[in-house]
Every structure is written in C-alpha cells, then in structure tokens.
Symmetry: C2
C-alpha cells in the first residue's frame, strides 16, 4: 500500500510543487513506491491490525443475508441507522444531544474529503477567502483550489493555531475589502503538524470566530487516536452554532470503505444533501451497512485501543530515531496522537530539492511545500508513523539523517551559493505569511 498511498499524492502535487512537471513527480513517486524504499510519506492507517477474518465474515453476510438492501441504491443523506451510530460515536467526545447533535443533521459522505468538498461547494465562490492553519491538509488545499478560493494561512505553535494571529488575519482580510468565509481547522493531532489546540485556546478561537461572524469548519479525523488520555473535546461540543463538524471512519475503521460525515447546522443540512446528490447520487449502501454493522456487532472500541497502541509505539520509535540521529538544528513536533510528525530542517536545507536524493537513499517523506497554498514550507517535511513498523521507521530516519548530513556537508562546501539562496528565501518569507510553526 505504500505505493498507492504515495501515488495518491501525485496529482495534487502536480499542481503545487513548483519547478517539477506532473510526469516528473509521478516518476519520483513511482520510484518511491518500491518496496526497498522506507516511506514516511503516506497517511495510511495500519489496517492489517483489523481482525480481518471477522471483518470478512461480517462483510460476506451483508451481501448474502441482506443483499437486496445493501447492494441497492440508498438515500442521499445516508441511512438513519448509520447516522444514529455516528451520533453515538460523536457523543463519546462530547458532541451529544446537549449541544444539539442529531441524526437528522448528519450527512454521510464519501470519506472526509467529500465532506469538505460539499462544505466548499455550498459556501465558496471564486475569489473567496478561507482561513486555514499553516501548514494544513494537502487535500483541503485541493478543495479550496478547485473552488478557486484564496487560502490565508494562520500560523501555529506547539499549542495549535495562534489566537492573536487569527485575529490579525481576520482583520487583514477585512481591511483588504473582502471577508473570510470560514476558518478551516484540524484542532486535534493536526495534519501535517501533529500539534493539538489547547483547551484554553479552543475557547479563545471560538470566541474570536463568533465575534467576527466567521464559520468554523472543524475537521476531526484523528481525535480518537489519542495516545495519552482523551484529547481536548472538539470545538463543536462547545458551541451549538457556527461550527461544521467533519469526520471519517477512515482512521478508526478502514479508509477502503470511504465513509465519512458532516454534522451540519440544521439550516444548511438540506443544501448539503442536495449538493451530495448532484455529486454522487447517494453514498454506498454496502459501505454504510458495513460501518453500521461494524459499530453494532464488533468490538470497535477495543480495535481503537489497538490502533492507538500500535501508533504510540511507532510515534515513540520515530521520536527516538529523530532524537538519536538527526543533525543539529533539526526540530520537530511531539504529537500526542494521530499519524504525523512535522520536522523543521536546519537552516538552508530544502526538503523539496532534497527529495530526489532522499529517494535515491531509499527513504521518502512529504516536503512541507505540499501543505501551503503559497508554495512556502520548503524548510519542513511531514513524517508519517502510522504505517511502517518501528524498525523500518528507525531505518528510514537513519537514511534520512544520512541524506541531510550530506546536504549540510555540500552546503558547507558551496557555502557562498547556499548563503545567497538562504538570504533569498529569508526575504521571500518576510514578504509572505509566516510559513512555519511560529
């Protein structure tokens, strides 16, 4: 699967990574997908940890015993059975009837991606502004670009998005005579940064958005993958209004089913259903039945614990590897859940330029440029720890460290040239919004 996950990025990169053509990038990733390459590039959950025989038996029965329903068309909004189960899942993290969550306002989608695309389709017109963390989910950038919207990044630190920077961004957009349509945020175990918005900042961010009349689109695919106790409760659990909540079963069950959802404000739920029907007619009845039955009859909370334990061990392997092997000047986030670590390279290294040499050294990652709408972020990289086993992760870090040491050595040799490049980069960064984790 490493291969397909990598390949999956190819086209999105084609639009974003400057100076390389789509075919060059595809060739790069085709090489990266070879088994001898350690890929820290993907975002794939470790589905091999599922009880595959039991899942297979369940899936078989869905067709054999209920085929006339599960193999048939369904309804645009998704089945009531699944929407009820989704409300049970959300209630575990505090999004319950107390804050107005109801199966009536849930729209089942083709993974979290369609959830986001539907929200964009309803709200965004060409030229609109969207606020989003910098860096942010590459697939969200794809959606906003398809909608011809402009993304204004808001920087983060280790405690998530910076409230002051958010206020400033809202004000700046307003001064430019426009209005931001919504804040797109992944507050918990952020992709790609791995950081989590603190309790205190959650309230501040919500207050700021409320005052500014700014909708919040909360993307929460990873909230249940917490390694150390529960994650802070979602934004949606704190406010009845003004927050769209998006999530998916891709990380808690399996991405191959492509089942996600939106919990929408009641007033727009109908519009989302109509938009979804125009896109896909209805989500797969079979996949919905699969998720419903999985939640109803299988020990899914135990499975979630299994996923968490596997990922915690792999995160530990990645963090230990980075601490032991990375050249001086490299820094990284320390995620308390989710799938990703965000690394910042020593001054002067360029993760995008280094990529072909990394592939040659049989290690792959995603350069930071993929996570910014403006092409900045070359001094960073995203490292995934959910898919490769611990020993492969360590080997990957070893190879990566070797490449970086070589780059740094070359940089010393060609110091004058690199220094010039670094100064140029510094100037570009000063002109643009803060590209990194502030």
């Amino acid at each position: 699967m490493t291969g397909t996950t990598l390949d999956d990025y190819t086209d999105r990169y084609a639009r974003r990574v400057r100076g390389m053509t789509a075919s060059e990038i595809r060739a790069l990733f085709a090489v990266a997908s070879r088994p001898e390459v350690v890929s820290l590039a993907g975002g794939a959950p470790y589905v091999a940890a599922l009880p595959l025989d039991a899942v297979g038996e369940m899936l078989g029965k869905l067709a054999a015993d209920h085929g006339p329903t599960t193999l048939q068309y369904g309804i645009g909004q998704g089945t009531l059975e699944l929407r009820e189960r989704i409300c049970e899942v959300m209630a575990l993290s505090g999004i319950d009837v107390g804050c107005g969550a109801s199966p009536e306002d849930v729209v089942v989608t083709v993974g979290g991606q369609q959830a986001l695309d539907l929200v964009a389709r309803i709200f965004l017109d060409p030229g609109d502004v969207v606020l989003a963390e910098g860096p942010t989910y590459v697939g969200a950038l794809g959606v906003f670009q398809a909608a011809q919207a402009q993304v204004v990044h808001v920087p983060m630190d280790d405690d998530g998005i910076l409230p002051e920077a958010l206020e400033q961004a809202i004000a700046e957009v307003a001064r430019s005579g426009r209005r931001a349509k919504f804040l797109y945020t992944i507050p918990t175990f952020q992709n790609p940064a791995g950081v989590t918005l603190t309790e205190e900042r959650r309230e501040r961010v919500l207050d700021i958005c409320e005052r500014a009349g700014l909708l919040v689109v909360e993307d929460d695919p990873y909230g249940q993958l917490s390694f150390d106790g529960d994650a802070p409760a979602p934004l949606r659990s704190r406010r009845r209004d003004g927050v769209f909540y998006l999530s998916t079963f891709s990380k808690t069950f399996a991405p191959g089913m492509r089942v996600g959802w939106i919990l929408a404000p009641h007033a727009v739920r109908e519009k989302l259903v109509i938009a979804s029907e125009a896109q896909i007619l209805c989500p797969s009845a079979y996949a919905q039945a699969a998720v419903t039955t999985y939640l109803a009859t299988m020990p899914w909370r135990e499975q979630l614990k299994t996923y968490r334990e596997i990922y915690r061990e792999r995160r530990d392997a990645l963090l230990a590897g980075l601490a032991d092997l990375m050249p001086a000047g490299t820094t990284w986030t320390e995620p308390k859940g989710g799938l990703f670590v965000w690394a910042t390279l020593p001054e002067g290294l360029d993760a995008k330029a280094m990529m072909p040499r990394a592939i040659a050294a049989r290690v792959a990652y995603v350069p930071g440029t993929g996570f910014y709408a403006d092409g900045t972020g070359a001094g960073h990289m995203r490292l995934n720890f959910s898919f490769p086993p611990p020993e492969r992760i360590r080997e990957g870090v070893r190879r990566l460290a070797g490449v970086m040491e070589q780059e740094l050595a070359m940089r010393q040799v060609f110091g004058a040239v690199s220094g010039l490049a670094a100064r140029r980069r510094g100037q570009a960064a000063a002109d643009a919004p803060d590209p990194g984790l502030a």
Copy 2:
C-alpha cells in the same frame, strides 16, 4: 428498497417540482414508500436476482484474504486492474483499442453520477449552455443546475434525438451569442424516455456535433440491458475524438457498490483525476476490488442475461397492462431495453397534479416535470419496470388507469375550468421549447 429509491428523489424534486415545498414532497414520497403502494417511480435494478451467497462469499474473502489492500486508501484514478476489466467490458460493445480505448484514459468514479459531475466540473462555468435530450435524466439536471449551467432541451421521437432539432438548437444558442459546451445524451434505452437513437441517426448526430465543434457526453448505463439482440454500438465506438463515454456497474452488477467510470480524451484525463481527488480523494478500494473480482471470477455475462430476461418479462407486463387498461388518448414508448417507459397522458391531464391522488390509490410514478429543466412535461410520466414483479406492475397500471379515468371524468364535469387550464398550458408550451417527444 422501493422506499429508499423514492426518498432518493425527494431533494432533487424539491428544487424542480414547482408549487410544492420540499417537506410536502418528502411527505408525499414517505407515503409512497409504504409497502401497499405499487411503485413504478424508482429506477432500481432487481439486485435480488444476483447469486447473493456467492457474491457474499467473494466479498468476505476480499477482506479476509486481501484486507491490507482492499480496506486501505487507493489511487485517485482507480486501480489498473479494474481499468483493464472496464476496457474488456467496453470492448464487448465495440469500444476497443481500434478506437483508441485504453486503461490509461479510464477514470473510476463513484457511480455514473460522479462521472457526470466531474465532466461538468471541468467544462462548465456559470451561464454556460448544455444541450440535452428533452426529457433527460433527472440527476443530470441536478449536476447542470449545481454548475449553474443552462440546459437547452432537444426533442426526441421514437428513434431518439431529432438531428434537425439538434442543428437548430446549436444554431439558436450561437445566435444568442453563446456557445453550447457539450451535448449530454443517453442514446441507448434513454432515461426517462426508453427510446434508442437509430444507427443512421448516430452518424448524423456525431457529424453535426463534429461540424459544430461540440463535445459529446455519452451516458450509457443501460446499453447492455438489451432485450432483442444487441443495441446499436455506442457513439464512442464510432469516433476516437470528441466523445466522453460514461457508464456504471450499477445496472450490470449492483448500485450499492457505487462504481462507475469515464473513458476520457487523453488530454483531459489528468484534469478529471485531479478534480476527483479534490472531491473524494480516491474511489473505494474495496468496491473496486469487488467489481474487479466479480468480473474476473463470476459468470457476469450469464447474470446480465438473467437481468435482461427478468426485465423483458416485466416490460412486457407493463406494455400489456398499458394496452389493456389505459384510457383512450394515452400513448407510450416501447423500449427495447433498459428500465423505463415514458407515457403521455390524454390531453388535459397533469401528472404532477394527479400525483397525490395516485398515491391515495396506492400507485406511484415520476411526473414528467422532473425530467425538464424548465418545469414543462406535466403531461407525461415515467414508469419503471425493472423493480416490481409482473403481477405488481399490472396491478399498478390498473390503479393508475383508475385514477386517470376519475381525473378524466372530473375533467368532463368541470370541463370549462379544465379547458381554461389546458389553454393556459398550451400557451406556456408554445412559449417554451417542445416539452414532449416530438
């Protein structure tokens, strides 16, 4: 499933059926979905005819034996294995290497609906014109409306779209200073009209589009459901360039899997993949493996014959019922395949206005207004014959005939009033493009 299929139409109707609110229509269809109602309204294939135990066994194994791949993310374009199988399927109807069909140019989609939506997303800007048969597929109207495009209907007769009318429509759009972006057509066993474009007209339509530089979007979900020998070869098999070919496994296998495809001109295939990734990231790996394995290991051609035989018997039941029971002045098409008959009511009857009384008489259909962008078509209805068994179909026609007789009797009593309404309708029809089958 009758219920969900009906419900499935609710929101699309909400936007199109005038004079009724969304909630009224939802209430109407909720009543229509009761088991005592004979529904001729849906468009559901009879999936109960599948070998469900064998399909279940196959689906179970996909997870048990191949879960790490089938339950994982896939690639945006769809797996090569499935795209190769799709080319084998297309080759059966003449779309083969000889006319440039290649797995490289196939994009796997979430049913035929996403295929159409992707084409629209790439080509349509607000205010653009799309030519389409009148009547046409209700879900296509949803796509074009979401894209803020204007649909210009081209009338048909029993031999499909009228070439002269197509030429005229192209010229009229050009005279108005605009240009039609493409012709959307379902040439074989059309939905909702049930008619098929003849061999001779296929060439003429293609020539006309070629001369006008007009792209053709050929939607072919029903081509393999032919009751009397093979259907005429698809448009795409006759031209290498200028034709997008869209199809689906919803009618030949099962709609619950939501697997369709586009065979696109090479130059735009990449754009379609990027657009699809922004919408759904990737199609379901599991559903793709299911279709691939179904085609590779199960007797799918035999199953197709089974579907054909069932539907032919049901079509015969519907046509016989109509001939025996319909009031004088009713006419209908005689489809040689597919799922639908299009009926034209005696002068003065209004299928939309009659709908609540039909539901009260425990029979449901889709009023013709759903299949026109301009709200015309009230003198028609679409009748489905793929889902209900023959005896239910006959009973449904009996109930429907009863309702129509009552309407006609009322019309005689209130002749003056009805006459006025009919004249008003006649005037509206004269102002608008021909709403019926010419």
